[in-house]
């Protein structure tokens, strides 16, 4: 199991999405997943091995690294990407449920029975709510992770040197982070794409609600 398995799962979501949803999926796959796999993972690969403290005290570097990097950026992004794509699977599951229900009815009542859903993939009724809920979850996940990042690494900043006084370090020692500038650039990039994805989701939510209100107005009129 690796990222390509998730990508195959997500490709099925595409056909039930709006145009905004397809753009969101393209942004997630190209600018978040692909950048994460081909570039960001390598930058953080020697994160701990090149974290150097100005002391020969054994254990000091380990403790300081753990203090300043409780969860590595890379792991947080992996979690964020998995959680942000999961709500889309709700929509796929709902459509599959509708198709199964229709199939069972056809088996029970024959081919000429009344169709429950003229188009199981069309966002009407319950599926509209599922889709809207999935958008809300996606926004919530992205916002939560951005907040976690901001709390753990203030202003998404990665300093070159950190001052550490954790035991067993003998005094306040200087510890040097590996590739801080490159990491900072990639952090900003991933934050920017997360914000873009949040905006796309908000636009999609607005579009769905506005379209629904407009359709209802036409029906009443």
């Amino acid at each position: 199991m690796n990222w390509s398995w998730l990508q195959e799962l997500l490709s099925g979501v595409n056909k039930y999405s709006t145009a905004f949803g397809r753009i969101w999926l393209s942004v997630v796959i190209i600018f978040r997943f692909l950048v994460y796999v081909v570039a960001a993972e390598r930058v953080w690969s020697d994160d701990q091995s090149h974290f150097e403290c100005n002391t020969r005290q054994p254990g000091c570097a380990n403790v300081c690294y753990d203090h300043f990097f409780p969860v590595s950026h890379i792991r947080l992004w992996a979690l964020q990407l998995i959680l942000v794509t999961c709500p889309s699977l709700l929509v796929v599951m709902h459509v599959a449920y509708r198709e199964a229900k229709q199939r069972k009815r056809r088996e029970a009542e024959g081919e000429n029975c009344h169709r429950l859903y003229p188009d199981p993939g069309k966002k009407r009724g319950g599926l509209w709510w599922t889709y809207l809920l999935s958008l809300v979850f996606k926004v919530a996940v992205d916002v939560t992770f951005l907040y976690i990042f901001h709390r753990l690494y203030a202003n998404f900043n990665l300093p070159r040197v950190v001052q550490c006084a954790e035991a067993p370090c003998p005094n306040t020692v200087d510890c040097f982070v590996a590739r801080p500038t490159e990491k900072k650039l990639f952090t900003y990039f991933m934050v920017a794409t997360a914000i873009l994805c949040i905006l796309l989701n908000l636009c999609e939510m607005t579009y769905l609600v506005a379209k629904r209100c407009w359709d209802n107005k036409i029906k009443k009129g």
Partner: protein, 277 residues
Amino acid sequence: MDWGSLQKVLGGVNKHSTSIGKIWLTVLFIFRVMILVVAAERVWGDEQSDFVCNTLQPGCKNVCYDHFFPISHIRLWALQLIFVSTPALLVAMHIAHRRHEKKRQLTSSEKVDIEELNKQKFHIQGPLWWTYTCSIFFRIIFEAVFMYVFYVMYDGYQMPRLLKCSAWPCPNTVDCFVSRPTEKTMFTIFMLSVSGICMLLNVAEMCYLVIKFCMKRKYEAGVPKGTFFFHSCPATRLSRERGGAEGLSLVGSILTFEKDFYQISGPPSMAYFKNLC
């Protein structure tokens, strides 16, 4: 999720591209992505671990490496390739949108072979011409921007053997040695040359599209409406067989160029009917 998935997406765009576009895509994947993955990444693999400074001061090496290499060549190339491939996705999305619209129009009235619809080739005309041209324009811009960023960040394209560093906590100006500088310089020049070739291909493709459009407009302006264009098209052959004006009346419209002769017709201002051939 890796370069292979990007290749799959862009491969779909390939069949709707011009010949120059197909060459560009081939050059991109063979001479840039593949070289990056199978060779360049190995060369830069030990860039930090083998970056050695002439001091025992802890942290000096880290700080000096960060000072001289704010972002690694490999990562810049990966970003460059991603950004340069992205405009082609605009074309892929436009084609997908057209297919979707066609599916919606056809499925209600007639039985349609979805496979056939998915395999159908769209000519670069109408709004798709604009999307395609814009995508080429953005590709050129992204290539130029990244080449400039490389030049500014690394003060030229050569990798020095020795760097002098006096950033804190280095006690004084220390000598730091880059690993494999010659090999890295060779690869940098190679990637730069291929970037340049890709840019030239994009410029050539754009010129080709614009010249075709101008020629079409000129031809349209020169040919009065109602004139029939004699061609090797069977419909005109048939009309010629039937003879004179009577035969011509069988072909009741201005013909477009044959499908397998011209791929690009230009923007929507031209009032051509569908090719009857």
